[in-house]
Subunit: 332 residues, 2 copies
DNA sequence: TCACTATATGCAACCGGTTACACACAAACA
DNA sequence: TGTTTGTGTGTAACCGGTTGCATATAGTGA
C-alpha cells in the first residue's frame, strides 16, 4: 500500500512530473491539479523516499562524522555541536564510531562506509590520524574537515584547539596569580600531539618568565588515573609548589593519592586540563582548562556546509582558544 | 570519474548482471570474468552506492534511533549499546535527536524523517511519549521498539527499566541494613512516569515492613538541583533519618545545602537514583541506583533486528533490573 | 493578424543498482 | 539419441524519484 508519485499521478490523472512539481514547489501547476494532489498527500500522509531523491539529485544532504566514540563528555559535546549546526544548515549527520579497532582497519572501514553512503562531506576527529589516511580522505573528491589534527603540508581544512596557549593560560595563572615557582608537570603518552603541545606551553611559559626549565619536575604519565597515582611518590619528593597534570584524569589521581597519604599534612595544589564533566564535583573542585568542544562542533558543521556550497576555495585552518576555569584545587 | 557497475561492465565487456553477481558473490561467473572484474574493482577502489542498492532491495539495513539528546551519560551509554549491537547485526544506526522541541512538533518531525529515510525499524526512547504517537509509530508498518515507556493496551514491543523495584531495592538497603525508619522522599515532576514508579516503590516498601506511609516526609521536587535546595529547609524540619531523592541531581542539591548549612552539625544521609557519572566523585560519594543503559541499548538493538527477521510475532515486553550502588552517602 | 510570452503538462531518459526470465552450451544420464 | 542438469551470460523491467525538452493553449503588445 506504499504511495509513490507514480501512484499519486495515476490517482489524479496527471503525470509524475506534475506531482514532482507540486512536491518541490517548482514550475507551473494549475491550482486545480495542485489541490487535488495535495489532498491525496495529506490524506495518506505521503512522504517521499529520500534514497530516490538523492539518487536523482547528486546530493545526499548528509555529512559523515567520524569520531572514536559517542559517549564521554568530550565527544558527546562535539557531537551535539555538529548535529545542531548541520540541522540548522538542513543537513543530516551520519555518525561513524570506530571504538577500539586497530588504526589500519579503522581507516579502511570508515572511509569505505562513508563512500558507500555517498555522504556530501566528512568531519573527521581521529586522534590517531596519520598523514596517509588524511591524504586518502582528501582524495575522495568530497570536502573534508579535520578536527584536532593538522598537516601543514596538505591543502586541507582543519580546526584545532590551541593546546599550547591553553597550557600557557594555566601557567600564567599559576605563576602570576599564585606566584608558584616550582611547577611539576605530568605529560600524557608520548605519541599524543595534544600532550606535546601542552608540554611545549609549559616549557615556554617557564622560560618567558625567566624560571629555568627543570627536568626533574617533569613526569611521564599516560593520561590515566592509575598512571598518575604510580607517579605520586616521585612527584612529592620534588617538593613542588603545584602539580600541573596534562589532563583531568591524572589530576584526579594525584588528588586521591594526596588524600590517602596521611603523611602529607599540607594542601597540595593540583590543576588539570579538559574540564571533564565531573571536575567541578570533586573535592577540591578542579582548576582546569576548558576546551570549547561544542563550539568546535558547530564550527565544523558550518565550515563543511560552506565548503560544499563552494565558499571555501582555499584551505581553511582555524584554531580555537581555550578557557581557564578557576576553581579551588589550585589554591584559589 | 565515478565508477558504476555499468562502466565496469563496459570495461570488461560483460553485462551489468555479471558485475553484480561478482559483487554479491551470487550465481555463476566464469573465473576469467571474475578475476577481470575484481581486478578493476581493486584498482579503482570501487564502492557500490548504498542508495541504489537499498532502492532495489527493499531494505536499507538502517535502524532509526530516536532519543532526546546524545550528550549526557544516560543517553550516551544507551547510544553506545544500540550502535554496537546493531553493528554486530550488520545494521546502521540513524540517530535522530529532538532536544527541546515541543512534543507535538517532535513527533511530526522524527516520524517523518524516519519515513523519508525508509529505515527498516525504529527504537524510540521518548520520555514524554504519548499514546497517540506510539499508535502512529506502530502504524508505520515497520517494527518499532519503545524504551522506557509501555502502553499495555497496544500490541507493541517495549523494554523498560524497573523503577518500582529499583526504589524497593534502595528502601531495603536503608531499612534492613541501616535500620532507618523516617525516610524522606523527594519526587520528580508529577508527569514523569519514572518518578511515579519510584514513589510507588518507596510507598510499597514502607507498607511491607509495617512502617506507615507519612505524607509529611514526601516533598515534590522537579528533578533539578535548585529545586531540591529550595526544599531543603522543609525537609530538615521533618527530622528524617535519611533523604531518598528520586534522582541524583536532587540528591546533590540536598548534599550541597547540608554542607553550606552550618547549623546542621550532624551527618545527613542522602541517596539518589540514576548513578550519574559524577556521583562517585562528590563528597560523600553517592549511594544510588544504577540503570543498565548500555545493556538496554544492546537489548533494544537485538530485539529490533530479531523482529525484522520475523522472529517476534508476538509483542515483546521486557523489564530490566537495576543495581544498587552502595557508596558512603547513605551512612555506609 | 502575427510574434512573443506566460502558463500548464507530459514524454522519456537518467541516477545506480537488483533480479526474474530466457537462452546457450556442455556433460551426464537413461 | 533425447532429456536432464550444471554452468555461464545477457535482456529488460524495476526500485522512486528528477529534469531537459517538446508541446499546447491563452493572453498580450505591435
Amino acid at each position: 500500500m506504499k504511495l509513490t508519485i507514480a501512484k499519486i499521478a495515476e490517482m489524479t490523472g496527471v503525470s509524475k512530473t506534475t506531482v514532482s512539481r507540486v512536491l518541490n514547489n517548482s514550475g507551473y501547476v494549475s491550482s486545480t491539479n495542485r489541490s487535488k494532489i495535495t489532498a491525496i498527500i495529506d490524506k495518506y500522509g505521503y512522504v517521499p523516499d529520500s534514497r530516490a531523491i538523492s539518487l536523482s539529485k547528486t546530493r545526499t544532504e548528509t555529512i559523515g562524522l567520524v569520531i572514536p566514540e559517542t559517549s564521554g563528555p568530550f565527544y558527546a559535546e562535539l557531537l551535539s555541536g555538529v548535529e545542531e549546526s548541520l540541522r540548522d544548515h538542513e543537513h543530516f549527520t551520519l555518525i561513524m564510531t570506530f571504538g577500539n579497532d586497530k588504526p589500519h582497519r579503522v581507516r579502511q572501514r570508515y572511509l569505505s562506509i562513508m563512500r558507500q553512503k555517498r555522504v556530501d562531506g566528512m568531519i573527521i576527529f581521529d586522534p590517531e590520524l596519520e598523514i596517509t589516511t588524511a591524504r586518502e580522505a582528501s582524495a575522495l573528491g568530497i570536502p573534508v574537515v579535520f578536527l584536532g589534527k593538522d598537516f601543514p603540508d596538505l591543502p586541507l581544512h582543519s580546526i584545532c584547539v590551541d593546546n599550547f596557549r591553553g597550557a600557557v593560560l594555566m601557567m600564567e595563572h599559576l605563576m602570576r596569580h599564585h606566584n608558584y615557582r616550582r611547577i611539576a608537570f605530568i605529560t600524557g603518552p608520548s605519541d599524543s600531539q595534544d600532550s606535546l603541545e601542552r608540554f611545549r606551553g609549559y616549557k615556554h611559559s617557564l622560560e618567558t618568565v625567566g624560571i629555568g626549565f627543570d627536568d626533574e619536575l617533569v613526569s611521564r604519565g599516560d593520561f590515566t588515573r592509575q598512571g598518575a597515582q604510580r607517579l605520586y611518590n616521585q612527584i612529592i619528593k620534588t617538593d613542588a609548589d603545584v602539580v600541573f597534570a596534562s589532563n583531568d584524569e591524572m589530576a584526579l589521581g594525584i588528588i586521591e593519592s594526596a588524600h590517602d597519604e596521611s603523611s602529607l599534612n599540607r594542601f597540595l595544589p593540583v590543576v588539570g586540563y579538559d574540564d571533564a564533566i565531573w571536575s567541578q564535583f570533586i573535592e577540591p573542585p578542579l582548576t582546569t582548562i576548558r576546551q570549547p568542544m561544542y563550539q568546535l562542533g558547530r564550527l565544523a558543521g558550518h565550515t563543511i556546509t560552506e565548503t560544499i556550497a563552494g565558499k571555501n576555495a582555499d584551505s581553511v585552518r582555524l584554531t580555537l582558544n581555550t578557557h581557564l576555569v578557576v576553581r579551588r584545587s589550585c589554591g584559589c
